[in-house]
Amino acid sequence: MSLDSTELHRRHVPEPELVPILDALTCIIFFLMYTTTFMELTSVILPPSSTSLVSKADPSKGIPVIPKLFIDIVDRTIVVKMKWSGKNPGSTTKKMDRTQPERYSKELQGVVETMVADFAAKFPDEKSLQVGVSERGTYQELISVMDGITKSVPDVVLLSPDDVKNMNEEDNGS
């Protein structure tokens, strides 16, 4: 085949204009990349449930501490109460304003963190904490509370909202 006939054949083959298509595609990719939002997800884990045996006959182990943290909501106030049993039972309470229940509360996280850190300093062997939130409490509040706890105590066990109600009744003496 001669060069002339090849050239003649090429002239008659319709070719799509690839250059502007690729150019436009490149522009679109940048536009899409800039408008995309990447969400970094994380998780807060409730560990597998387990049972532990406590022997009453063994005096060296003493009375179990069983620490409990209650988050109660009274009107626009959050009441954070921590109670524990054992040889030296005790409790601490802190109150704070409830402003935006669906937003991450650094204040709530901070209050819980301080309270649990104080407890962990007194009882370094305690590795789990029972947490109960009032019925009205939000999922965001639970996560803020759990963030505050897991820095000092690794395992969290959830308590029923009824336990929070019962705790209030016990405290009020009814």
């Binding site: 150019d23 990447f38 969400m39 996560i143 909202p161």
Partner: protein, 157 residues
Amino acid sequence: MDLESLDNPRKYPLTLQLAPMIDIFFLIIVFLLKATIVADVSIVFPREMHPPMSRSKETLETFPEVVVTETELIVGIIHENLNLSEVDKLSEDRVNEIKGKVEQYVKSKDEKVRSQATHVNLITYRGNNYKNIFASVKFLRKIGFQSVAFIAEGEGQ
């Protein structure tokens, strides 16, 4: 090749070949986008469901997903949509039936990932109430899931 054209630069000026350059550039972008690891596990949140914020540094695991709405508990892996107000009132037979489905699901998994099948990633919106969360966690444990991971949005945003 036309040898005459090489001798005459005015007739055929040197031009930059943009087409192959853009072509390669385009391929590289696609390759980079595909190779970028945003997260090992991808969790798709249902529309209009905003996750809570968390400071936790825990990484995500490839556990089965459970979605909790305002009224329902959706366990997609066993095709069960349960009304949250009724999960506590379910008959023992019904609970055992669901438990059986979970066991079957776990058995169907490869031995290497079987232990992961007994954990769940719980997905719900930040404003959902604690009563629903507690009822869901309690029921999930009842039907055989060992641990529950609450999925939240990290501080990276």
